[in-house]
């Protein structure tokens, strides 16, 4: 596999996972940006464990997931059922605080960053194979979990909260518990992504975890479609890959193009390109095709 393709695939996988980490709480209308802070905290922790304490990568990754989950759970105790804008502010605030704490910690490199994370498996090719394997394994696993979530009572409850919070409460939905669950899941996923993100580059720098990432994941969700998980799967590779092919004159306006695309989609197709309806149509088509095959 070419090197460029490896980086493209691995970063796309991270973008898909991070967008799903935002998608899950957004099912109940929470823009949960704390996930970027989770990435940084878990990533740097895992990096420190591997470099300074020679902890095996697999254990460091597990700790990254766990740490993300613990932080997400603790914060969600307060904002599980908070208004949307409060959740947004909490997320942004955590990003700021995390950055400040990390830049004042020489043990993790401070403002310089953390260099020279080791290759997993001892060689660059094994490292790439392992990282890609873990990332796409996670994509399949998380995708499965989210698919199940979307098609079960929890998913329907989240949809009810999204549409009308008061009605959801009157239907007996415990918004706080649901919020805690979704936010904890989201932060757990983000924690693991943070570890993997750093090991893709084999380094950590504070500028890997900025509001720019928030912008990317938000664009992926809203352009791809926020009402189903499939929108992210479509939008992530395209929004990352197409600008790489732009000629330099157009590439320099990339952010303006992203912003304009976001506005156009919000105004013209507010649910994004892939909506629930389109997913149902595809599912129906596949189901009919399968029946025809079985009959023949």
């Amino acid at each position: 596999m070419s090197l460029a393709l490896y980086y493209y695939l691995s970063i796309t996988a991270v973008n898909i996972l991070m967008s799903w980490a935002l998608y899950v709480p957004y099912r109940m209308a929470h823009l949960h940006f704390i996930t970027v802070a989770n990435m940084a905290i878990s990533g740097y922790t895992a990096g420190y464990l591997v470099m300074a304490l020679n902890v095996p990568f697999s254990l460091a990754l597990a700790i990254g997931f766990l740490l993300g989950g613990v932080i997400g759970y603790l914060v969600s105790l307060f904002i599980g059922d908070a208004p949307t804008f409060a959740v947004v502010i909490v997320g942004f605030t955590f990003i700021y605080i995390t950055r400040t704490v990390i830049e004042n910690m020489p043990s993790v490199g401070g403002t310089m960053g953390m260099f020279g994370l080791p290759n997993i498996g001892g060689s660059p090719s094994v490292h790439r194979f392992v990282i890609l394997g873990i990332l796409y394994g996670l994509v399949v696993l998380v995708g499965f979990l989210i698919h199940r979530f979307d098609h079960c009572s929890l998913g329907r409850a989240a949809s009810a909260v999204f549409v009308d919070k008061d009605l959801a409460v009157s239907l007996g939905i415990d918004i706080r518990k649901l919020g805690i669950l979704l936010q904890t899941f989201s932060c757990t996923l983000a924690g693991g992504c943070g570890v993997l993100y750093g090991f893709i580059y084999r380094s950590f720098h504070l500028d890997f975890f900025t509001f720019h990432l928030v912008g990317i994941t938000m664009t992926i969700i809203f352009v791809g479609g926020y009402s189903t998980m499939w929108g992210t799967v479509l939008a992530a590779p395209l929004l990352y890959g197409i600008p790489l092919l732009f000629p330099p004159e157009i590439a320099s306006w990339r952010i303006v193009i992203y912003g304009a695309l976001l506005i156009l989609v919000l105004v013209l197709k507010p649910e994004g390109f892939i909506t629930r309806r389109s997913v149902y149509c595809v599912e129906g088509f596949l189901s009919r095709a399968q029946k025809k095959l079985n009959n023949s």
């Binding site: 090197l3 401070g110 403002t111 950590f204 504070l206 500028d207 330099p248 590439a251």
Partner: protein, 391 residues
């Protein structure tokens, strides 16, 4: 007699054949030398990326006008990383796989950290000419450092500055937490304390600071005789304006560090920074045909603005690459990329007497050994040389 003639002719033929064969071996196998430059052409520091690119392209123009490298033209290909590690890593992977012999950049540090491991892993040199030694050394021998180790270099420099103002007994620093800047501030402390100047607790400048009154009051409360600035150029200008509005008059007791010598300082500071001192690695008052031509071309292309200090870095980097190719058996033959990449990296790391646009210097194991630094006084947007500090 006949035998002697035969021997002479045979010897000449042998010499001719050997030379020709040798020449054929080092003759360029490429139609043009393509040197990708991973640069931030868009994003928050696009203005810096623009003049870095300009410097590199200026060098390419001069080289091509003089006949190219081994008779073939050189082309600098700007590769925009948009200050984004995600983009930087894919672009570096792409250029490594395209069979690039040598590259320039990346700029700045977050992209270096994401992309340089790829170059290192694949044995390709990429000249990072705008970062500190502490970043570059992590990727040796596949890059060279443009600067000596921070502590060694800056200590001497600020000590020399303190020497210019013997009545200055205490200094305070404004330090922004970004990349190598805190390390540079530490080096300043060592240099100043070595000459008996008391360095007070620094004033940290938050990256998102909009007003600077609280920080200036905090600094002035300690009654310093001098101030050193280790933060973003625009912030430096604003802090200086705030200092002036609070009665600071000793402008020559204000020292701006090298990374602060950027167009933002002059654009924001205007007349308020007259008299402020600044240190850097290039002397814009040099009077040589090469520098004068560079300066004139820059000013013509940039509405009369003086070339910023970093504008020559990638200009020199491309000349360094040119010399590396010309002085080794590099041909650009795709079958020999691995060896030729190594040849270039090894040659650059220990190049002797490189003729930079400002001065000549030697490289030893990837580190420059004898680059001078300069202290200037800013007057009406121009720098007036106060002192040259030789290592």
């Amino acid at each position: 007699m006949k035998k002697a003639k035969f021997v002479v002719v045979a010897a000449m033929a042998l010499v001719f054949l050997t030379t020709g064969f040798g020449f054929a071996q080092t003759q360029a196998q490429v139609k043009e030398w393509r040197v990708p430059f991973l640069n931030c052409l868009t994003g928050a520091i696009a203005s810096i990326g623009e003049y870095l690119q300009w410097g590199a392209e200026r060098a390419a123009l001069e080289i091509n006008q003089a006949g190219g490298i081994k008779g073939k033209p050189v082309k600098v290909i700007g590769v925009d990383t948009a200050l984004d590690p995600q983009k930087g890593s894919v672009e570096m992977a792409r250029i490594v796989e395209e069979g690039t012999l040598v590259a320039m950049g990346p700029v700045p540090e977050p992209v270096i950290m994401a992309a340089m491991p790829i170059a290192v892993e694949n044995g390709m040199a990429s000249v990072t000419a705008t970062t500190s030694y502490e970043y570059a050394v992590k990727f040796f021998p596949w890059t060279v450092s443009w600067f000596p180790p921070t502590e060694q270099r800056l200590g001497e420099l600020v000590a020399a500055w303190a020497g210019l103002h013997p009545d200055m007994k205490s200094v305070i620093q404004f330090v922004e937490p970004y990349g190598p800047w805190p390390g540079m501030a530490e080096a300043h402390v060592k240099g100043l304390t070595s000459v008996g100047v008391k360095v007070m607790p620094k004033v940290d400048v938050p990256s998102d600071a909009v007003t600077f009154g609280p920080l200036v009051v905090k600094a002035l409360e300690q009654k310093p005789d001098g101030i050193v600035f280790v933060c973003n150029a625009e912030k430096i200008a604003k802090i200086i304006r705030e200092l002036k509005s609070r009665g600071w008059t000793k402008m020559d007791r204000l020292l701006v560090f090298s990374s602060g010598d950027a167009p933002e300082l002059y654009a924001t500071g205007g007349a308020d920074i007259n008299g402020v001192e600044i240190y850097n690695y290039i002397n814009p008052n040099l009077d040589t045909p090469r520098w004068n031509a560079f300066k004139e071309a820059y000013m013509k292309a940039h509405n009369g603005n003086q070339p910023p200090s970093l504008s020559t870095n990638y200009y020199d980097a491309l000349y360094m690459i040119k010399r590396s190719i010309e002085s080794t058996a590099v041909t650009g033959d795709p079958k020999k990329f691995k060896e030729e990449r190594k040849m270039i990296a090894e040659y650059m790391a220990n190049m002797k007497d490189f003729h930079g646009i400002m001065f000549n210097w030697d490289m030893k194991n990837g580190v420059p050994t004898n680059k001078p630094t300069f202290i200037f006084s800013i007057q009406e947007g121009k720098k007036k040389l106060v002192k040259e500090v030789k290592p």
